[in-house]
Subunit: 418 residues, 2 copies
């Protein structure tokens, strides 16, 4: 039986998970890959910290020991971050080694360039684990939807924010309290900026957009919004209306254009996205042939992420030749902010000095088409909670400006995804 030697860059959460699966599930992997996958060398900074792993893999501190080792054919990049991951992957592809990675920041930022480099060198670059950790969504899009026309991908693709929003909805916590709890339980990092600002989810939507529609976008090309400003008040109002607030990434094809957005979004309590709680992720697909389908699983974690990487290793090892992870390429224009309409949830607040009447007048004067209207008075002033008929983000922004002109603040303006 053929043996393929595997190199690992990093033995942290993900890298150690890959080593554990390759070691523990060797018999099944050998059968499904059609060859033995042998963990050969792992690049680590401090070998003393990884004494236990040293029984299963040779620890090296010099990248060259992997890059220049002709016997290593596949390398897992499990360091994260852009640098030096990008330089290392570049060197590995140029050395004709196929690379498997979970690095969404890198793939979202430099994916097309690295994919081209892999192709030019006759090797492969796979990154199933980069989106929704343990859910095999990229393989599913690339293979099972290879003949279908996708119209929308909607995903809860960040576990940290989903954990926080779940706690806010179920325990009536504030954002700050839920974030603190998530950090204590290890579901949020000490610096949660990339998660709570929606940037991490935006990276993942870049990759999903490429796999669903073939179009390369950058996070600078579309609007992404985090959950820092989501108020316990709006979580409760949404619940009263039959909705749950989730951080949803949308990639939609409409009239030959692509619309991408990440934003707090109201989903019906009875929808499957609403049932995705805590650190779990899910992706809902709408397509012409299949219709509605839905894929759910853990969004992160050592072994789920490692399993996706191992499935990439097996796919590569069992292919007769290095194969392209995604063959779809179709550069569609991005839809403008006036072209896409959705219903919205708006939370208006007039200070104590402004009357309820002013709120009603504003809605009438701006010809806002509402489907539900509810006035609530409390110490903060007069609230008006309303849901609208489908309108564009441009129209929403115009309304927010008109409200500010009469001293009414729009505290929340969230899309409703039915």
């Amino acid at each position: 039986m053929r043996t393929i030697k595997v190199g690992l860059l990093g033995l942290g959460t993900v890298g150690s998970g890959v080593l554990r699966i390759l070691t523990n599930n060797q018999a099944k992997i050998t059968q499904t890959a059609g060859c033995q996958l042998e963990p050969a060398k792992a690049l680590v900074r401090n070998p003393a910290k990884h004494a236990a792993a040293a029984e299963q893999i040779q620890l090296v501190t010099d990248f060259g020991e992997i890059a220049n080792d002709q016997s290593i054919a596949l390398v897992v990049e499990a360091m994260g971050g852009i640098h030096p991951a990008k330089e290392y992957i570049t060197a590995l592809l140029q050395a004709k080694k196929s690379v498997e990675t979970a690095n969404k920041d890198l793939i979202a930022s430099c994916g097309p360039e690295l994919v081209r480099l892999a192709r030019d060198n006759g090797v492969a670059l796979r990154y199933e684990a980069s989106v929704a950790g343990g859910i095999p969504i990229l393989n599913t899009l690339a293979q099972s939807f290879a003949g279908d026309e996708i119209t929308q991908v909607a995903g809860i693709v960040n576990g940290t924010t989903n954990y926080i929003l779940t706690q806010m909805a179920q325990q009536h916590s504030s954002f700050a309290a839920a974030l603190k709890q998530a950090q204590q339980l290890g579901f949020a990092e000490a610096d949660p900026t990339n998660d709570v600002t929606g940037k991490d989810a935006a990276f993942k939507m870049v990759i999903l957009t490429k796999f669903a529609f073939g179009t390369d976008v950058k996070i600078a090309d579309f609007n992404y919004q985090g959950i820092e400003d989501v108020q316990a008040f709006d979580v409760e109002q949404a619940a009263d209306l039959g909705y749950v607030i989730k951080l949803v990434g949308i990639s939609r094809k409409q009239n030959g254009e692509i619309f991408v957005e990440v934003a707090p979004t109201l989903v019906p309590q009875t929808s499957q996205l609403a049932q995705v709680n805590n650190e779990y992720n899910a992706v809902a697909i709408e397509s012409m042939a299949v219709g509605r389908s839905f894929f759910y699983g853990p969004g992160a974690g050592s072994l789920p992420t490692a399993n996706s990487i191992v499935s990439d290793l097996i796919a590569e090892a069992s292919a007769a030749h290095p194969t392209s992870f995604n063959k779809l390429d179709c550069q569609l224009p991005l839809a403008g902010p006036a072209e896409v309409v959705d219903p919205y949830y708006l939370s208006l607040l007039a200070g104590t000095k402004t009357t309820e009447l002013a709120l009603a007048q504003l809605v009438t004067e701006q010809k806002l088409e509402t489907t539900n209207l509810q006035a609530i008075g409390d110490a903060a002033g007069h609230h008006l909670i309303l849901t609208t008929k489908p309108m564009s983000r441009l129209a929403v922004d115009k309304f927010i400006k008109a409200a500010q002109a009469v001293k009414i603040s729009v505290d929340a303006a969230y899309k409703i995804l039915e």
Copy 2:
């Protein structure tokens, strides 16, 4: 660009869907397959009935015109049934053509034999569409879980029975009324025997068991039970206890043995399986690395099923050599009826002549460990609804016999899947 000619056996619901996708989505398919897939010839009984299709594909009435056509490399079998599908597929594989099929009856009955024949002839046999129509569950198990150790697969894999049970739960219909409605709406066939008896779901569990665990089982090897005897009364009692009754197929690995069963099962209302309504299907997987994951989509229908077949065609067309659909082979023994324990829901009925006391006595004497007990009296007599601690099917059957001995009937004994 290379062109691969495709033959079709049958132009019914599924066959016409395949032709439609190959025609309508040609541009994307050409890109993802890396070659053109050209619908070449379709075998039909009555060409006059398919005049519209004749513009897209050559209609033939003689199987030999496809089997002996050297230019046709891939053939879709979309006739269904065991004969002559088996003889046709055998002839095609021997003629070195790869075959794609949705035929679960055939694969569940003769899969190992046909897979061997394909391998011996250096061609492939793929059947993604044979389980859960539009959900790419077989590819997912074969590829994305190729390095993981699965412990349980639980699926709602029959759309007809799920439609009927959904109507019973939501509209409080009887089984007979819901079946009639399903037939009128086209969700059940005129002869629904294979669906309502659980046989169709059992066929699918045979295939899922092979993909999850590598073990070949036959439907004669395990217990399958349908929904004909599910009473509106029990659907309501289950709802009161927080459960929904679904026809669930289970394949579980436990102490190195495999347990397979299809039976009406109580799932918690808050579970994802409970949210699978009407004709939809879903498969929930539990595995060592990923943990819990869940896959949902349409279980049947022309285009969803056809999409799975087209994904098989694309996989085969884009592979350098014919590839094995499933490489896992691991023949584990089947667990006996005493070895697998689950909590149960039991509905006991003592006729009007028997007292409530007799019910309580029976439970005590048989040392049944209950977690919930509720007595209901009505015209039919004294009911006792109870849920038990985990017990084996053997122990349940023993209890049913003891009950009968004192003239108490056990009207329902359904597993609870938490």
